[in-house]
Each structure stands twice: as C-alpha cells, then as structure tokens.
C-alpha cells in the first residue's frame, strides 16, 4: 500500500490563492498583449536584417549617419552581443527593392563607414512570407492543443484533457505575456520554444494525472481532493528534479548559446517555471472543479494492462 503519510504539503488548500495569482498573471499578460503587443521579429513582420562585425567597436551614431545619407532612413541600428557587432533592421515599408537591399546596405557601409565590416548574417523576409509564418505559427499552437486534447481524452478522461489543455493555454498566455511586458523579441525560434513549453508542461501534467488515476483506483478511502493532493505530493520530488535538470541545461544555453539562441532559451526558462507551477496549481484543480471522481476511473482500460506488461 502507498504510504499516506507522504503528504507533506497541502497544495490544494492554497488553491484559491493560486487561482487569484494565475488570473492576475493572465490578466496582466492579456492587457499587455492587447495594448503594446509583441515585439515581433522580422520573421513575422517581414523586413530586412543585417548583422555586421567590425574589428574595433562601432560608433552607432556614425553608422546611422552613413545609413541615412545612403537612403536607408528609418533603419534601426543597435549593438548585438558586443560593441563590435551591429544589427541593422529595416521594416518592410522602407525596404523597397526587396532582396537586393542587404547588399546595397553592405556596400554603402563598406564605402563610407570609418572601418570596413564583415557580414555575419543577412535576412530578408517578404511581407507575405511574414504573414504566412504568423498564420502557420498560430495554427501549429492550435493543432498541438487539439491533438493533445484528443490523446489525453483517449488515454485518461475528458476532464483530465480539459485540465491539461487549460494548463497549456495558461502557460502559453503567460509566456507570451512575459515577452510582451518586457518587449523581448518574438521570432520563429521563440515560437518553437513556446511549442516545446507545451510539450514540457504537458509532460509534467501527465505524470501527475497518471498518479491521480492510479491512486483513484488503488486508494479506497479519501475524497477526490485528498487523492489529488496525495498524488501531487508523491510526484513532487520528481517534478522538482526534472525541472531542475531542465533548467540547468537551459541556463547553460542561455549563457553560452550566443545571441541568436538567447530569446529561445529565455522563453523556455519562463515556460518551464510556469509549466511546473501550472501542472500543480492549474491542471489538477481544474480537473477537480470539473467533478472528477473515483467512479470515472474505476474501469481498467485494456491498453493500460498491455502497457504495464512491457518492462
């Protein structure tokens, strides 16, 4: 028998507090997304981006001057990573002659700037492609959630599915909100990170649900909320361990992965933290609130038995 004394923390007694906390975060996120939105990268807005490196620190004001005289008005110039590297961005309405623009820009920098630069990276995304990427990104998120909803319904029960998808929506909104509030750049890699967060957070939630299901079948006594609480406690050390190892590598990625991967790592760090929290305080309470009970899970499904046979 499972040792019922493993209950150390009464998670669910703080349910109300957690609900308020979550709502507050979601509210702030939505408000920020609605008012200032995301700082979308050129992947989504379309436009031109050129990264150049110089042997000596580059004077941004001089560079802006050079670009303005060369006809690139409205170019956003900033250091990238170090003072030797410079990132230049042009929005699509400025980038008239499309793909040839980055070459013209390099040529004028090399001709007029006080020191020659080396091209690190040049990107051009047509406005139409940008729109498609935005659309595809949104669709990917939506389809991922639908597929997961179906899988969890089949493997568990629809209330678990709703609980886990609510937790995912919670994580996605808050991570997006984080990027909106602090105006970190949102590009394709961050979108990929967001989908990885979905995968990760779900992983966490499923582990808890799996235990809840097992305990509902095994424990004869206890109200649904007690059973859930026991399950949360039993899986707690695993939840913390896995979050820690994942955060360890993400922090390594954040620090050593370089500028391009920076925002990606950041999105994942935020997502993993939120995802860990939500698998405890969002997914389970919602499932409980939807009225999950022992009777819903008593039937042992066939595939469960089959799966257990495999070592």
């Amino acid at each position: 028998m499972t040792d019922q004394t493993t209950i150390k923390i009464d998670f669910l007694s703080k349910r109300k507090l957690a609900t308020i906390f979550s709502f507050l975060l979601i509210l702030v996120s939505i408000a920020s997304l609605a008012t200032q939105g995301l700082k979308k990268g050129i992947d989504f807005t379309g436009g031109t981006l050129v990264e150049m490196s110089f042997s000596a620190p580059a004077d941004l004001n001089e560079l802006r001057q050079v670009l303005t005289t060369a006809g690139f008005e409205g170019a956003v110039v900033q250091h990238f990573g170090s003072s030797h590297e410079v990132l230049i961005r042009l929005l699509p309405d400025v980038s008239l002659n499309t793909a040839a623009l980055s070459n013209k820009m390099q040529a004028s920098i090399n001709a007029q700037f006080s020191q020659p630069g080396e091209l690190r990276r040049a990107e051009f995304v047509g406005p139409q492609v940008g729109e498609e990427l935005t659309e595809d990104g949104g669709l990917a998120l939506l389809y991922a959630m639908i597929c997961i909803l179906i899988y969890v319904t089949v493997r568990f029960e629809y209330r678990f599915a709703l609980g886990s998808v609510a937790a995912l929506a919670h994580d996605v909104i808050i991570t997006l909100g984080f990027f909106s509030v602090f105006q970190f750049e949102f590009d394709l890699t961050v979108l990929a990170a967001l989908l990885a967060v979905i995968g990760y957070s779900l992983n966490d939630t499923i582990v808890v649900f799996d235990r809840v299901r097992e305990n509902f079948r095994k424990l004869r006594k206890g109200s649904p909320s007690e059973v859930v609480n026991i399950s949360l406690n039993q899986t707690l050390s695993r939840t913390i361990m896995t979050s820690l190892t994942t955060l360890l590598v993400l922090i390594a990625l954040f620090i050593f992965g370089g500028e391009i991967i920076h925002d990606f790592a950041l999105a994942l760090i935020v997502g993993v933290l939120i995802g860990t929290y939500s698998s405890i305080y969002v997914a389970s309470p919602i499932t409980l609130a939807l009225g999950i009970s022992k009777a819903d899970l008593m039937v042992v499904t066939v595939d469960q038995e089959e799966l257990d046979k495999i070592p």
Binding site: P92, A100, L188, N203, V207, M241
Partner: protein
C-alpha cells in the same frame, strides 16, 4: 526475486550501442578544405584530368592531401589557404569545360566510409551560406500560355481558312471575333475539337459581332503552373551549376515556391542577380521598307515594332522572331578579335539552326538585329503599400548586315563589357526561366558566424550535459551514475541517427539536443523516485527495482508521447529553423526512452540483479 535480462537482450543492447558508435564516429574527424571539379557540357572526369591537375598543382607548389574521383573530382587540401590558391589556379585552367567549386569534404576515414557512415549534415546557419525562397510569378506564366494559345489559334484559323476579325488575349481569356455568324459556328466546332484542353463558348453579349471566348480549363491551368515551376527548377539548377557551388539544394516548396540553398556562397549579390535574371536574346530582321521617323510619329506599320537601341536612338524591326534564347543550346563569352569588344558565341539547336539558315540564305545583304530582353521587378510605394511593378526592358544591342549564309553557329557583339557578355552567356546556356521569379525570403550566414554558432552550440551542449551528470550522480549516487551513462549513450544515439538520416542539423536543432539532455533524465527520475517509494513502503530491494521500472513505464510512455505530438506538429508546420528543432527533439525523445528504460535497466540488473540485497542506496 531476481532482476536479470536474458542474454539476447544484453547482446541486442551491445550491438545497437556499437552501431550507434560507428555511425556517430565520423563526426569527430572534422572536414578537409577541398575543391570540387565537376564537368560541364560533354566534358569528362577521368584519370587523365586528374594527372593533369596533379601536375599543375605540383608546379604551383600546392601539396594535395588526397583526391577522389566519381562523377566529379574531389581534391583535398591541408588548409584553406592552399584550397583557395588551388581553386584560383584550376579555375583559370579549367573554366571552359569544368565548374570549380570550394567545398568542405568530411574527413571520414576509409573503414568508416565502408559502413556508409558520414557526419551530420550541417545547416546553413552552422556552415555559412545563403538560403533563398523564390516565388514563381504564376500570373505571368499563365499570361504567357494564353499568348501562346492566341498565336496558335490565329494560325489554325488561317490554315483552316476561317476568316476572323481579331484574335486577342484579354484578362486571362482569348477573344476571337468574326464578321459572320456561320464562320463563328464552324470555328467554334473545329476549335473545340482541335484545342481539347481549352473551353470555347459564344459570348452572348455581342450578337452583332459573333465572338468566341476561349479559356483554359482548370486542368490546363494546373499543368501550366506545374510546368512553369518545374521548368524554373531545371533552369535554376543549371544556373547554380554555372555559379560553381558544391552541394546546392534546389527544391520545390508548396505549389509556387522554390527553395535554393547555396552552402558557402558569400557573394550573395551576384547569386541573386544570376538566379533571378530573365535576360535573353531574340533575333529579328530590320524593317527597311518603312521609315523610322514615320513610326516614331505614331504610324507604326503592321507587323513591325519600334525598339530602342543602346545609343538612345530608335529602330524599326519586324515583329516576327527568327530565333529566341530558348533555341540556344550553348553560349560562351569572349572578345572579338577585330574590334576588341565583348561578344557571345552562340550555338543553336536543330530547329533554330534551320530557321536561321533559311533566313540568312534569303536575306543576304539585309540587316538583322539582336534584341536583349530583360524582365525587371521593382517595388514601389503606392498609397503607403509596397506594390510590385513589372517592366520589360527590350533593347537592340546589335544590328549587322548578313554577309553570308550561316546556320547554327555565330557570334553576337554589341554588349557593354565583358562582364555583361559573361553573364549573358551564362544565362543563355542555363536557359530562360519559364516565368519570372521573386526572392521572397533570404537568409545569409557568414562563415565566421557559422563557426561561432557551432562553437556556442557545442559548448552549451557540453556544459548542460556535465551539469546534469554531476547533479544526477550527487542526488541518486550509483543509480545516478547509471542514468549518466544512459544520458551519454543517448547523446551518441542522437548523433548517430542524425548522421544516418542525414537530417540537417541547425542551431535550433542543437538547442533541441540540449533540451533533450535536460528532459531525458526525466524517465530515470520517474523510475528512481518510484523505486524509492517502493523501498519506503517496505518492499525488498529487488522487488522495488522491479516494481519501479514496471510502474513508471506507462507514465513515461504517456508523458513522452504527448511531447512527441507537440514535436511532430512543430515539424509539420515549421519551416527551416523550427523543423531542425523538431527533428532533434523527436529523435531525442525516442532514444531517451530507449536508453533511460532499457539501458539503465541492463546496468541495474548487471550490478544488483543477481545478488541478495538487504539495502539499496538510491
């Protein structure tokens, strides 16, 4: 209760690990800077060529590390400096018949290559190069097809003696006007039979002038688009070959786009010009019967057209085309010995040669003109929105009197400079694009950034990996070490599978590996925590190990399948960088389940399985 694996399981594990090591191994050998020599038009790669090249390099004092001969020649060098020098020398020597391209060839040893093992394929963000997404202008493709049909219809009606008033292409349709209803009826019937892929019907709005509206059928429209796309892919392949790029990628994406990836290409301006260029030539007879000044005043004779020449003047040419660029099979640039001006030597195909032969025989002493045609696309701001404006530049570059009869080989002069002659020759050789293309996306990564990305990616994998190793060993002791071994094995498996599939490894792909490293231990954490619980519940160590693995399995499976769903959807919707991430994440999930469940179990069984245990430290 004992925990042990049957012998076959241990053997299977050992074999799969060995295979993984073999296929992961090529990645540690790095790459040789090398030069790739590929034949053009009829040239061959043989031992003779190789001996010749070896001799040349020897004379230039460039040591050759190794060479390989297949459909192309691969010459390996010790360093980039020698590679660049050799490429320059060979380009001068072989430029006419061979493409000389720089390459980084994997330095995989012979015995590994025998297993067909090769290193991971690095994406452009890691090796440097350009990625283009090109969009084919399908409207233009359809318009061209409609114009072609209008000409065919005109010719058919003429041959069948069905007198028409006018045949005109308009708004994606061909309008055929007649004077008499009877002819209209006959034409309608015959045209429907002759042009089966088109739909013909009577225009009910113009009973006074009986008119047939001809439109492409849906199938025909689809075919036209498909043809334009495929023809463009072929042309782009030819052009890329001419540019001299080792291992280019040219692929269809969707139904109107083409991806072109050029590893190692740094001169993106030239690549863009060559890829998107639509320049071609047309040969016309000069209209000598009518006056140019009349035409300029607006009285352009039927069957003739006014053209600009490069000097700023105008000239009247016959509309009828003798030959076009598509009939040119070969072209090379050079300098004309008499005038010292740039020229292009042209060879025509059979039908083109015949037409040229006929024309020149009949028109000795008459002037013939060469028209240079180029489609240009510019983006202009209209009401604050970028709008693409297309224009066709048609210029007469040369007018010469036909001195004698010639057919399929001749020279064209009048080009501005040798660079223009070279590019034009290249474009004529590679063929014209069936429809104009626009670059809708470009991603260029310079070589230094590529190397930086590799270094950073490698460092973060390494650091993350070591941190997790330490963490697990400290927390779970012996079991933690097992998990560490499983994690290391997992990395080998991921690298082996990526190498085997030759899937493209990108920087986000490396991030996917890092993430997998963090998440891979999850399965072990689940198992170990479960074993701990079982021990706490008073079960014997052996029973706890058994139950731990057993009970954790379905949890691990469920948790990983859901993550896999997210990864697969990422793969389906993602482009470039996202796909790379999704691939490594998916592979990582699958291999980590294998190593974390089966791998650690084998280790646990081998260490603890056959002993009577009273306590278990975990």
């Amino acid at each position: 209760m004992m925990n042990h694996f049957p012998a076959w399981k241990n053997v299977a594990l050992a074999v799969s690990l060995m295979l993984a090591v073999v296929y992961a191994l090529p990645n540690i050998y790095g790459e040789d800077p090398s030069v790739q020599v590929s034949p053009l038009r009829g040239a061959v790669v043989n031992t003779l060529l190789l001996t010749d090249i070896k001799e040349t390099l020897k004379n230039a004092d460039i040591p050759l590390k190794a060479s390989e001969q297949s459909e192309h020649l691969l010459l390996r060098f010790n360093n980039t400096e020698q590679q660049l020098k050799a490429a320059d020398i060979l380009r001068d020597k072989l430029a006419k018949n061979y493409v000389v391209a720089l390459n980084l060839a994997p330095a995989t040893p012979e015995w590994l290559r025998a297993f067909n093992a090769s290193p991971m394929y690095l994406g452009l963000d890691l090796r440097g190069g350009v990625h283009f997404l090109l969009e084919v202008d399908m409207q233009a493709a359809e318009k061209q097809a409609i114009d072609r049909y209008a000409t065919d219809i005109r010719q058919y009606l003429r041959e069948e003696k069905l007198r028409y008033l006018n045949v005109a292409a308009e708004d994606g349709k061909v309008l055929i006007k007649f004077r008499k209803q009877a002819i209209h009826d006959a034409a309608l019937e015959q045209l429907s039979r002759q042009f089966r892929s088109w739909e013909f019907k009577t225009d009910p709005t113009t009973p006074a002038k009986p008119t047939i509206i001809a439109a492409m059928s849906q199938d025909e429209r689809k075919d036209v688009r498909k043809y334009a796309l495929q023809q463009n892919i072929i042309t782009l392949k030819n052009r890329v070959n001419e540019l001299g790029v080792a291992e280019p990628v040219i692929q269809q994406q969707g139904d109107n786009r083409i991806v072109v990836e050029l590893p190692g290409v740094q001169d993106t301006a030239r690549a863009k010009e060559i890829l998107g260029a639509t320049a071609t030539l047309e040969y016309h007879m000069v209209d000598v019967e009518h006056s140019v000044s009349d035409a300029i005043a607006g009285r352009v004779p039927l069957g003739s057209k006014l053209y600009n020449n490069r000097e700023g003047g105008q000239i009247l040419l016959k509309k009828q085309v003798i030959v076009t660029g598509s009939e040119i099979v070969d072209a090379s640039s050079g300098i004309e010995s008499d005038s010292g001006s740039a020229m292009v030597s042209v060879s025509l195909d059979g039908p083109g040669g015949k037409k040229m032969s006929k024309t020149t025989r009949e028109n000795i002493g008459q002037p013939m003109a060469v028209v240079f045609i180029e489609n240009r696309t510019d983006t202009k701001l209209v009401d604050g929105k970028p709008v693409r404006v297309k224009s066709v530049v048609e210029e007469v570059i040369n007018v010469a009197t036909i001195r004698g009869h010639f057919s399929n080989r001749f020279q064209t002069t009048g080009l501005d400079n040798t660079a223009e002659a070279r590019d034009l020759a290249l474009l004529l050789r590679a063929g014209a694009l069936a429809a104009p293309i626009d670059i809708v996306e470009e991603r260029t990564v310079g070589p230094s950034l590529g190397q930086d990305n590799i270094d950073r990616g490698f460092n973060s994998v390494l650091i993350g990996f070591v941190l997790v190793l330490i963490f697990m060993a400290v927390y779970y002791k012996t079991f933690g070490l097992f998990a560490d071994i499983a994690l290391a094995t997992n990395l080998i498996f991921i690298v082996a599978i990526l190498s085997l599939l030759q899937a493209t490894l990108t920087l986000p792909g490396i991030a996917g590996i890092v993430l997998t490293v963090g998440m891979a231990v999850d399965a072990n954490v689940l198992i170990f925590e479960r074993i701990k619980e079982e021990l706490k519940n008073g079960n014997s160590p052996q029973a706890s190990i058994h139950a731990g693995y057993e009970k954790a399995f379905s949890t691990i499976a469920d948790a990983n399948v859901t993550t896999l769903i997210a990864a697969i959807i990422l793969f389906g919707f993602g482009t470039g960088p996202i796909k790379g991430f999704a691939i490594t994440l998916s592979i990582g999930i699958l291999t980590s389940m294998f190593t974390a469940i089966v791998g650690t179990r084998a280790l646990v069984n081998a260490s603890f399985g056959n002993r009577q245990l009273t306590t278990l430290k975990i």
